[in-house]
Point group: D2
Chain length 416, copies 4
Amino acid sequence: MKAELMTEIADIEMEGHLIDSQMLTRVLDKIMDMGGEFEIKTFRIGEKKNDTSYVQITVTGEDSAHLDRILRELNALGARLLEMEDAKTEIAPGDMVVPRGFYSTTNHPTYVRYHGAWVEVVSNHMDCLIVLHDGKAVCTPIGHIKKGDRVVIGTTGVKVVPPERPREKSFFGFMSNEVSSERPSGELVRQLACEIIRTKNGGGKIAVVCGPALVHTGAAPSLAKLIREGYVDVLLAGNAVAVHDIERQLFGTSLGMNCSGNAISGGHRNHLYAISEIMASGSIKKAIEEGKLKGGIMYEAITRGIDFILAGSIRDDGPLPEVITDTVKAKDAMGRVLQGVDMTIMLGTMLHSIAVGNLLPSYVKTICVDINPSTVTKLMDRGSAQAIGLVTDIGIFLPQLAEEIQKQKKEIIRAA
Amino acid sequence: MKAELMTEIADIEMEGHLIDSQMLTRVLDKIMDMGGEFEIKTFRIGEKKNDTSYVQITVTGEDSAHLDRILRELNALGARLLEMEDAKTEIAPGDMVVPRGFYSTTNHPTYVRYHGAWVEVVSNHMDCLIVLHDGKAVCTPIGHIKKGDRVVIGTTGVKVVPPERPREKSFFGFMSNEVSSERPSGELVRQLACEIIRTKNGGGKIAVVCGPALVHTGAAPSLAKLIREGYVDVLLAGNAVAVHDIERQLFGTSLGMNCSGNAISGGHRNHLYAISEIMASGSIKKAIEEGKLKGGIMYEAITRGIDFILAGSIRDDGPLPEVITDTVKAKDAMGRVLQGVDMTIMLGTMLHSIAVGNLLPSYVKTICVDINPSTVTKLMDRGSAQAIGLVTDIGIFLPQLAEEIQKQKKEIIRAA
Amino acid sequence: MKAELMTEIADIEMEGHLIDSQMLTRVLDKIMDMGGEFEIKTFRIGEKKNDTSYVQITVTGEDSAHLDRILRELNALGARLLEMEDAKTEIAPGDMVVPRGFYSTTNHPTYVRYHGAWVEVVSNHMDCLIVLHDGKAVCTPIGHIKKGDRVVIGTTGVKVVPPERPREKSFFGFMSNEVSSERPSGELVRQLACEIIRTKNGGGKIAVVCGPALVHTGAAPSLAKLIREGYVDVLLAGNAVAVHDIERQLFGTSLGMNCSGNAISGGHRNHLYAISEIMASGSIKKAIEEGKLKGGIMYEAITRGIDFILAGSIRDDGPLPEVITDTVKAKDAMGRVLQGVDMTIMLGTMLHSIAVGNLLPSYVKTICVDINPSTVTKLMDRGSAQAIGLVTDIGIFLPQLAEEIQKQKKEIIRAA
Amino acid sequence: MKAELMTEIADIEMEGHLIDSQMLTRVLDKIMDMGGEFEIKTFRIGEKKNDTSYVQITVTGEDSAHLDRILRELNALGARLLEMEDAKTEIAPGDMVVPRGFYSTTNHPTYVRYHGAWVEVVSNHMDCLIVLHDGKAVCTPIGHIKKGDRVVIGTTGVKVVPPERPREKSFFGFMSNEVSSERPSGELVRQLACEIIRTKNGGGKIAVVCGPALVHTGAAPSLAKLIREGYVDVLLAGNAVAVHDIERQLFGTSLGMNCSGNAISGGHRNHLYAISEIMASGSIKKAIEEGKLKGGIMYEAITRGIDFILAGSIRDDGPLPEVITDTVKAKDAMGRVLQGVDMTIMLGTMLHSIAVGNLLPSYVKTICVDINPSTVTKLMDRGSAQAIGLVTDIGIFLPQLAEEIQKQKKEIIRAA
């Protein structure tokens, strides 16, 4: 009975390591979950490890709207319509007003068919729209949609390439995002050190995202060292990290807690003094030029000239002059400096980790280190499925990581 | 070069919903992870939703030992050798001493080829051995292996049937074991209530596993009610749950905390008085017969005659006479009463949840409710992959579940 | 030997419920922790429950700087110098630049001696400076310090009144800020409901601070109801709460998750559609006027005309027009609407809870409800020592709270 | 009106550092919390840091039962009745049956007045009874009460000595049991290393309590080293720790996870092989004698001859011959080896930590290291208020601690 009503069908195709990357599994699961039917028309399985597979599937939906909903989901999983057509567009009727049926981006590399050719979407990241302009397809957050923008709608002519399982096992494995705290921590330090060195040796770009716990737990000197030695290309943090770091440099305390972790007398005043000292100079940069600030995370970041963004929050004291207090501008600036990043290390911050995760493509190696497993869980719940979670104590972890990097580096030099 | 060294090969086969249940994905992943090679010889894909697939794969290992390690892993994932041979056995050389190469069980239904026929393994659960005796294949923990037992070795003649993805979406979904706390809790209560009623209406057996937090958070009356109304067939807990429950009945406190959550005067003494009162009667059962104990979890469990096991732990005061203080005996007893259970609800206990998870086949619907996400994570880390995690507060959750069950029950009666 | 070097002494005095409010304990502890010496000169103990005590103590420091550090700490604990002198001030040398030795505020009520009289500090909250102007003493965050401001320095002429232990036990007890999840949740719901009704009946003002988990877990309708019925006077949240709430109203989903907690097809698009719909109207307010938005948290807040602040964050999509994207302005706005609040209920948000905690005087009853115990721990670590922590699931907790309030309200009406 | 009904009064006295150790605060708070009244009769305050204080208080209860309840609580806080009388006793009417009004012990040093003299209670720990026999007062768990035992009832003639605040700040501070994860971890490692060396240099006895996470996270070699070098006098664990440790020694894996944290092929079989190998030898001890087991935690513990208890649990495989499977016997054995212990280090186990906490006097320095803050919270909730919590990753923490101890030791030797 029900079957008779099902009249809308569409043919999709997909290729790649369909089996072991779970691409086919997910496509079939999604169809079933959404109440559709499927028939596999063609299937060529990759016979050996490095062969890719190819599949054609006829998908049946209850009606055109149902089929459309299914196709949108399958598109995000890497399937595309068999017929090649150009992407369809509509004009945004107002600033931040989107046309019905707009295409919502994933965080995977995406291509749009435009005048018969596949054009890669620029700066693609999750939950945005695609705007076509001058032969370019640009990933655009809703906040930047302007009246008159030509926005891609539907899934016709849009191709998504989900990450495939690497042929060999690696630290940043495939879908191996464990949140368990019961892993051999020392060994994970060694592997991560190795990945960092490999990334830098290969000319890669590494971003570090961190929260104030980094300073409280005593890991600030290790991060400063990693920056000084060139392992960090982009630093993303908030006002608190900068103030705590400067406070430590100027007064030896972090939020009035000295290096033995005891709240010390007049503690919070040092926090305010740190801000005041920077204000008296005019900025962190000027305080460094004046010789007032002589070390620490911000000193190394500015001295070395790496990109850094300090984003404002409603918990800030001050804030410091370098802080971008407008959250829209801060988010945009973060997106800009994250361009071309190959690896992101998130250290003890839920807010900034999720914000950065939203801005990253899925192929960026992402590791989230936090003593609170829910930071990692939430990061992945919000779509950064590529993230690896390390539930550990950054206060001990980061110093050991810095030491291990140095050790491995020496061995490499010795071996060469 | 390397390929030349690879001389050992074997042909395996597998059938079922290979794609959407991820069975094929896992087999290929495992071969690659372990450094083996594969070639897919035959592949018949199930074209429609209810069709099964079939695959034959030639697996290549570096040498015989390597191939053997790979085959063991593939066996646990549902693949079996193409040639049909009887299972191989060896004799256990001593009590609790196992023969080299013994077959270690999974928690999936398992069959052993014995005199040319497939025999289902009795009481199968994870991390045990299979002993053949009198034409029966019995899942046997290492602690019960006796000198002279005929133990299955290797994977020849052993077939494992991993769970398949249900064709429709259900509460106890497939691999949907979320640990996130950000799910609509009220809706989850409704769904679980529905599953409980359905299980009982279908003649199913439900086990409840609980820790003392159940009593501390005020959920004991709700569990007592569920037992009284017949929704619980098996109760697994420790001495603490029983004493706290009895203390509440006799003195209105749980570990000296009254119903407003305040530690009350002389609190812990009530805990000891509760033990003392039961000892004066001789047992919980006798205290009920004497009319001393008139309500609560233990009262309902004993009055209704359901199976219950109170397992001892090193934190116990007393303990009560019904407590099995020997942990080996307690575990055996738990295994016995869990036979035939269809659904297990774990409430606020890590120790008992993991212990019960070890004893359950993978097809038993398992839900683990705890405010601490690490309880669920650890349960799944230890192999109970079928468990669904609900990160919530049992003190509010269970009362609402009991209420919802009653409500749904009434609606069913009204509708009938 | 050492004693000879100790030449700097000062006499302090303190009165109140010194013993049971731990005021004297803390003063003596602090002196010892900081390496000072003390001699109690006068001590009049309150003999009965309602009598206050009085103490005079001679404090000895190693030198004048050491003594000064000790006196600052003792001042924050409620002790003041015996000699009555006017507060000392210095002029701020630049915008956001503070004079040496500035007085850093606590979150307790504070008085400044000015022309011989004690003047209460206006809008006092933690980690700010006191600016004297036109006979008024105004608590001023460092970010608002202007060149030329007359800033209080040192502790001379500054009196702090720490909270005293209530003479009877109450829900918002004294220093009873438990973070344990093992409390009878149902009873806590009843007590909190009672406190809310009592506060509102006494003409008090209640602020609710919430994060997006409120909507995800299904508690939004309960908060909307509490606002509609007049139990909420101030609402503090971010863009996400508003968008999720509006998305639920317009599309029945929250971040693409429907009421059964399943990610639904095209889910995140609804999130963007929700923003788009509001943008098309121009603002949330206009969308309500147009009849587009007919219910939910934001609808009730705007319809009822309560104060609300939506503060921007770097995780925002959009954001909505009502969101204050500049974090400095948002924080100021939050401070303004929190004036005169008697009770604050924090629901599932670490960022906003700590931000609000920073802005609240210590006498505001504060309850922080979160499934993650670290939210509460951090809130208290950062100085909001008056906060009570409830580790529970807001998705079940808030609906039950709303129901309980209604029930108690009915009983009160019936009794009247 | 109400006052007239209050007729029952008693005079109590207390001495010590009443103010700064919060003893007086707690006594007055408790009276008020319980609805009693008080009048301070005599109060001599310790004028200088090392002087003790003395107080006499008249306590008024509503009736004799109310007063009695108050006095019991005050007794546990260190107050005693002014009149000196011998402790009162009653005879236990049956095995594990307690006389009404029995005295329930605290974990503080306790003295019983017996024939006019104060006798210290032997092996005193929390939640037990005091049995008088042959001039000795013995702390006796309810499980060991025998018919005919002479049990102390009421608080007459019972004196408790709560811990006092140390005159100087120390690592094991007074009531400083923080659970926050935001402390400088490296510094805490240094301080703890220092305390361990100081304890051992002073001839003290150190117990280590650990769970299987110790082995999983890769910290086992560090514990083995600490045992070998004589820093551990007592080891308390379960079957799992021993099997995992032996498995690592024999097969290089822990529960089938190799040193890179990946589940390896046939992993759990190694766990069972480890048990089998020990069973083939007869015991761990014999396996060492045979040269089968050559390193690791158990090897060092047995070789060095320290006291160790392996307590059984319902999660055990095997268990190993050295495991005490009866929980009552295991708990007794734990109590015996903990006699005279000065410091206890709890590593990654909730069950064993709480069990050990129950058996320890309050003056034993106790540090609980766990990545899960709820382990520490629960430990303290259950009365081990002296415990310090360190929320960190034992996989990195313990290796660093072992290294730091060695470093400090060398410095001491060099300095000498």
